[in-house]
């Protein structure tokens, strides 16, 4: 044990973060087998699979129940082998009840997509000014951005609500789009900065020496390296906007209500139909599940604000 002085790991730990960006490998690459390659792996694998199934069970149960009839859905003990049917989905899309979820889904899509576009338009130049040609005191600016994210939404929601009411912007999707833009902008700036900082200085210098102008450098050098990061940032902003409930609940209502708002009203308004609730939950979670799995590898880096690769 004498070689295990605490200094050794700490030093390498520090080196980690400085060299992270230089690494070409992703965070979730299949690592070489670690420590003891032969022993314990079966046990670890079994334990991991058991826990994975346990964690996924609620999601799988939600999906299974959504394909059950209402009578099969609400049984004790659970009816796992019951007949599958699309009734709950038909019901959710309003075939019999006449309440369509489409306006809410379209509102969610509109708010999420447009606010994501706005975020990108604002965040890409900002990230450029914070990484490739950094302004003075750029770290202070970065921390200002992060601090706005730490302020709970509830601390600003009343003035926003009063403002919207005064100017007639309540229940207006455009006001919600602005709110979502401000909600995601700080994270996007942090993420984007970390992705832009990955562009090797040598490449930028080489482009400069070759006489490439700013726009050409951005298009030919920065964009190809940063594009996957920009895509991941966009997906994460989309997910956060799609998921948001509090702002949507306070600032929208009948016309501009989003899918999460629809979902909460849907349950209290129609009593409880378990299969239908599950079908609704599946439908509104699908875009996020797709986006999340698509961005899986960049998800960690994005969500940890670029501090972890």
């Amino acid at each position: 044990m004498s070689t295990l002085t605490p200094a050794a790991p700490r030093e390498s730990g520090q080196a980690r973060f400085t060299s992270l960006a230089a690494r070409a490998t992703g965070p979730l690459r299949r690592g070489k087998s670690r420590m003891d390659p032969t022993r314990n792996n079966t046990a670890a694998g079994l334990a991991a699979w058991l826990l994975a199934l346990l964690f996924a069970a609620p999601v799988m149960w939600m999906i299974l129940t959504s394909f059950h009839s209402e009578t099969d859905a609400a049984t004790n003990p659970p009816s796992i082998a019951a007949n599958l049917t699309l009734d709950a989905y038909r019901e959710f899309f309003g075939e019999t009840s006449g309440v369509s979820p489409w306006p809410a889904l379209i509102n969610s899509a509109t708010a999420s997509i447009l606010s994501t576009v706005l975020v990108l338009v604002l965040a890409i130049p900002a990230a450029y000014a914070l990484s490739i040609r950094p302004v003075k005191k750029w770290t202070d600016v970065m921390f200002f951005f992060l601090s706005t994210k730490m302020m709970p939404v509830v601390a600003a929601i009343l003035p926003l609500y009063l403002f919207a009411r005064t100017v007639g912007a309540l229940d207006n999707i455009w006001f919600l789009i602005l709110m979502y833009t401000s909600m995601n902008l700080p994270i996007a700036v942090w993420m984007m900065r970390s992705f832009l900082a990955e562009v090797p200085v040598e490449m930028l210098e080489a482009a400069q020496i070759d006489g490439a102008g700013l726009l050409l450098t951005l298009r030919k050098v920065v964009a190809p390296v940063a594009m996957p990061g920009i895509a991941a940032t966009a997906l994460i902003c989309f997910i956060f906007s799609w998921n948001e409930l509090l702002l949507a609940r306070v600032l929208t209502g009948v016309v501009a209500g989003t899918a999460p708002v629809f979902l909460t009203g849907f349950v209290s308004g129609q009593g409880l139909f378990l299969a239908k609730v599950c079908a609704a939950a599946v439908v509104i979670s699908l875009p996020v599940l797709f986006a999340g799995f698509a961005a899986q590898d960049k998800l960690v880096q994005g969500l940890s604000l670029g501090a972890v690769k």
């Binding site: 994975a52 609620p58 659970p78 900002a126 950094p134 302020m151 709970p152 003035p159 940890s304 501090a307």
Partner: protein, 322 residues
């Protein structure tokens, strides 16, 4: 400044040596550098900082929108109410309890999962994908599923499984839980831990996979036990990742609204500050009081954030120094 010859530099390098006659050019250059940053900065100040200043002002008013003629300056009265009213005080404690327990529990479980997933086994990629799923279900939907499909006392999955297990042994008197009414706080915590563990796992897994293996191998040569390696090598290396996960988790969990709103509607002592504030202004129309509570949340967040930011800052400085 001519964009065609835009200078490329990195933090730590001074862009240009000022010359006598170039001061105004220098200034123009500085503004050209700032320009791309300004739209985002100005937008964020307008939309987040300005409303908070208004919240701060309203917090000193006695303002109930149902009796607008009584609106008047109230001094610190609202703050005294926030700190003495049993419900609001309860909300403060609930927020702290909820945040601390969810962050710690999901960090511990996430660490366990990350350690398992760091090993090689059959179907590891699929197991990881399954484990991420809870984080990718829309929070309101997740809360609804927990409330109705899992925890419901008469037909929820958990009691259903208990009934089924007991019936295997010929018993018809399986214990039936009713977490939502008997331990509602536990219900909220469990569902949030379920949702946040994957996030912690992902960050810690990234940390584990960036671990320098040479020291681990050297330790193994020296005959160090797996526990010693974990305690003296892995854990110190993971420290920053644990702190980062804790910080980011705390930022989101302090603000949690969806789970409290959906699972218990703030009943039975589960109302956290975001929910209590929402109720105070949305249903009770007590604008002054809600604002004061909002300011209290921000003060609390600042205290936590000052400590937490130091962590991020240390990570960040190392990166900036490269």
């Amino acid at each position: 400044m001519t964009t065609a010859t835009a200078r490329i530099s990195r933090p730590g390098h001074h862009a240009a040596k000022p010359q006598r006659d170039t001061r105004s050019r220098e200034r123009a250059l500085a503004w050209a550098r700032r320009a791309p940053l300004l739209p985002a900065l100005i937008f964020l100040i307008l939309v987040t900082q300005l409303p908070f200043v208004v919240t701060l002002i309203i917090s000193f008013l006695n303002w109930n929108s149902l009796s607008p003629d009584k609106t008047a300056f109230a001094g610190v009265e609202n703050y005294v109410t926030v700190l003495t009213d049993p419900d609001l005080r309860q909300a403060i404690f609930t927020t702290i309890l909820l945040t601390v327990s969810v962050v710690l529990a999901s960090l511990v479980v996430g660490l366990g999962l990350a350690l398992l997933l760091d090993k090689k086994f059959i179907g590891r990629g699929l197991a990881r994908t399954l484990l991420i799923a809870p984080f990718l279900v829309v929070p309101v939907a997740a809360a609804l599923i927990w409330k109705h499909a899992l925890l419901n006392p008469t037909y929820g999955l958990i009691n259903g499984i208990l009934t089924w297990l007991w019936s295997l042994f010929g018993s018809t008197t399986a214990p039936q839980l009713d977490l939502l009414s008997q331990a509602p706080m536990m219900a909220v915590i469990v569902s949030l831990v379920w949702q946040w563990t994957p996030f912690m796992m992902l960050i810690l897994l990234a940390g584990l996979q960036s671990r320098p293996m040479d020291t681990v191998e050297a330790a193994q040569m020296d005959g160090a036990t797996p526990w010693a390696i974990f305690r003296h090598l892995t854990l110190p290396h993971l420290r920053q990742y644990l702190e980062l996960g804790g910080l980011l988790g705390a930022i989101y969990i302090v603000q949690n609204f969806d789970a409290v709103f959906t699972l218990t509607a703030g009943g039975l002592g589960t109302a956290n500050l975001p929910y209590a504030i929402y109720q105070t202004f949305y249903f009770a129309n007590e604008y002054g009081l809600a604002s004061a509570a909002g300011v209290v949340v921000v003060i609390g967040t600042i205290i936590v954030a000052t400590f937490a930011l130091r962590t991020v800052f240390s990570l960040f400085k190392k990166e900036a120094a490269r």
